[in-house]
């Protein structure tokens, strides 16, 4: 059963080996610049290629090229400049405006000026949770593709607790709803985890299947038992109670909420769990070498189930936070694919909590900036997906970046995978 299954080479292990570079050389001597050079250059290259695409897809630029080459280049630079300026100010704020707003003392104007940066944090929040969910799975040797489904179930559970229970004080109701979300996600992940541990049923297949069940189940819940009265069957839940809301700290338009801080705290907790406790070492040992884990007396079964429970709880929390802090009711268009983007994100973040946070901030910032970019220059939001994809590709295949920038290949394939395990030593 589980014994046989740890021994045979299975698909998941093979995939994991493919996508996670084998960590060989410990990196404690590596300089800061070296460790960020690949991601930094990947981002730069992504932006450069994105710039080319902005210019190439702009009819204005083509028209200008029709007049003369120089005019064409001029227009192209202008278009790219406008777009990226919007991306930047949309994501982080316009410094001039912030200074002016602070000077003016107009509260609403100050909020509007500061909103872009805070909104980027809001956008990053679900990425942090789902990225952690995937990273915990990877660390434990599990490829949890079911994060999206677990997010949906978590959101549904949190929504239900959020609207159906009345009369609770906020300090009980909100945590309760959040807990319901975590438990919902954990339960949804437990099923494929249990199947893997006890029968060897592959988690990649089973989590994908569980995704579909989750989508259809929430669809049914939202248009049936959990549907909003008067919605006439439209899949939309009632609004959650005020007492279940995760507080937003400021007035409109700022949506910055406690969930982001919870996300940071949870990331720290996961770091502590993975790298500072025996539980984490158990998980990582089973995840890295199940045979050695067995030799060392660890239970692979227990480890698989634990890892899936943690991963699912994180995914469920992502959905719950999104509902309780931002959406305040549940509809089907709950997620723009956080569960799937997070796979890429965890890889960029090297499956460490800190890396996940940084990658989430990058994704969230890009997505937030893209809105402003589209408002200003009508560049489709999809260009940001392209930039993200390029960055991911370069991070996953550092050889390309090294080739482009003629960086020296490290003697042995370096990764920072253990640095955080020994952080602060």
């Amino acid at each position: 059963m589980s014994e046989a299954q740890t021994e045979k080479k299975d698909l998941g292990q093979a995939i994991l080996k493919e996508i996670i570079p084998p960590p060989e050389e410990e990196a404690h001597k590596k300089s800061f610049w070296k460790s960020i050079s690949i991601p930094a250059l990947a981002i730069l290259t992504g932006l450069l290629i994105g710039a080319l695409m902005i210019a190439a897809t702009s009819s204005t630029v083509w028209a200008a090229f029709g007049e003369s080459i120089w005019r064409g280049f001029g227009t192209a630079f202008k278009e790219i400049g406008t777009a990226y300026q919007a991306l930047f100010t949309g994501a982080l704020g316009d410094p001039v405006r912030i200074v002016r707003a602070l000077g003016s003392g107009d509260a609403k104007e100050i909020r509007s000026a500061l909103n872009p940066f805070l909104e980027s944090l809001v956008q990053s929040t679900p990425y942090i949770f789902t990225g952690l969910a995937v990273a915990v799975g990877f660390r434990s040797g599990l490829f949890n593709i079911g994060v999206e489904g677990q997010l949906f179930i978590g959101a549904a559970a949190a929504t239900y607790v959020g609207y159906s229970i009345t009369g609770l004080p906020a300090f009980i109701h909100m945590p309760l709803a959040l807990l319901a979300g975590a438990l919902g996600g954990a339960f949804w992940a437990f099923i494929p985890g249990y199947l893997k541990a006890k029968t060897g049923g592959h988690e990649v297949i089973n989590t994908i299947m569980m995704n579909w069940i989750a989508f259809r189940l929430t669809e049914w819940l939202l248009s049936g038992p959990m549907s909003r009265p008067g919605s006439g069957g439209m899949p939309l839940s009632p609004l959650i109670q005020k007492s279940a809301e995760i507080p937003q700290f400021f007035q409109a338009p700022i949506r910055f909420h406690l969930g982001f801080i919870i996300a940071l705290a949870v990331a720290w907790l996961i770091h502590w769990l993975l790298f500072k406790t025996t539980w984490g070492l158990n998980l990582r040992t089973v995840g890295t070498n199940p045979r050695a884990a067995k030799y060392a007396g660890l239970s692979t079964t227990k480890s698989i189930i634990t890892a899936m429970l943690i991963s699912g709880a994180l995914a469920g929390t992502a959905g719950a936070v999104q509902i309780l802090a931002v959406n305040r009711s549940m509809a089907l268009g709950l997620s723009s694919g956080y569960g799937f983007d997070s796979i890429a994100l965890a890889l960029i973040g090297n499956n460490t909590p800190l890396g996940v946070i940084l990658a989430s901030l990058l994704f969230g910032t890009l997505r937030n900036g893209a809105t402003r970019m589209m408002v200003v220059s009508a560049i489709p939001i999809d260009i940001v997906d392209v930039i993200q994809a390029i960055i991911l590709m370069f991070v996953a295949a550092p050889a390309i970046i090294r080739a482009i920038y003629h960086l020296k290949k490290p003697k042995k394939e370096e990764t920072t995978i253990f640095v955080s395990g020994w952080g602060g030593k």
Binding site: N115, M234, R255, N327, G333, R372, H406, L407
Partner: protein, 346 residues
Amino acid sequence: MNKRVITLLSLLIVVGMLLAACGTTATEAPAAKIKVCQITDTGGIDDKSFNATAWKGIEDAITQLGIEGKYLESKEVADYEKNLNAFVEEKCDLIVTVGFLIGDATKATAEANPDIKFSIVDYAYDPAVPNIVGQVFNTDEAAFLAGYLAAGVTKTGKVGTFGGLPIPTVTIFMDGFAKGVAKYNEVKGTNVEVLGWDPANPDSGLFSMSFDDQQKGRELAVSLMDEGADIIMPVAGPVGLGAAAAIKERGNAYLIGVDSDWFLTSPEYADITLTSVMKLMDATTMQVIKSVIDGTFQGGVSVGTLANNGVALAPLHNLESLASAELLAEIEQLKADIIAGTLSVK
């Protein structure tokens, strides 16, 4: 090239971009133009359905009235509020949102920004919000005509329909369609059957449970045709295109389009498109824009009817030969009766 050259080049490009960026400070539009901004739901701007149609109204206004138009696509629920905020920030004069699901967010933003005007397609607030116009449509009026036409054209005595989700904006099409068929039966003493929808028993309706799964549309169309239907009206946005493909393959059935005139929007299916039940959100959106320009904008509900051209039955185009002149005349009369209020389709 060596590393240095590349690095230098990249630097140059970046610096160039920054310079260009500095050169183009704040793109302020001339104050005279009014700015109309649309936020799509998760279907996107080119959903061949209400997002696209509403945007067409804005585009028409851009060419005809010289306004400025912008749109933002939403990828998830959390984007609604963000996009609304972005347009408030952009100082749009009128913000158009699309669909029931944006209802909460639109209301919240409208209440926080009473000086900005809003319009929402396919949704109405009760009680009304002073700075929102809800656009709703008596689609059943046009669908009634389509049903009557279908009943007159069918050779098998069976017509079919299916919906995307069992929600009011969908089932209203199916209701009208079924009642139009019933009217035909009543007038002519025939027994044309409607597959997929029975107004008396909504739970037995046929639904794809999706607005984007074209394969599902194909399957439903095939099963309706297998049961004998030779005219099918899919009320499920792009899912209908799957149905259209299946009908075209069979070659012995016809399609009734919805929302827009599919003869024009999906020319590849022009030769099987009998007609379309048009929900002219572009026209109603245009009306709202006009009201903003001439200062008559007033919050509340705008109902699209046959009377005000908010809904309509599309021409039969190339397939006009399928319907007798007599039938077409009867339909014109029904239309007049509905407009005059002498015939109720409810």
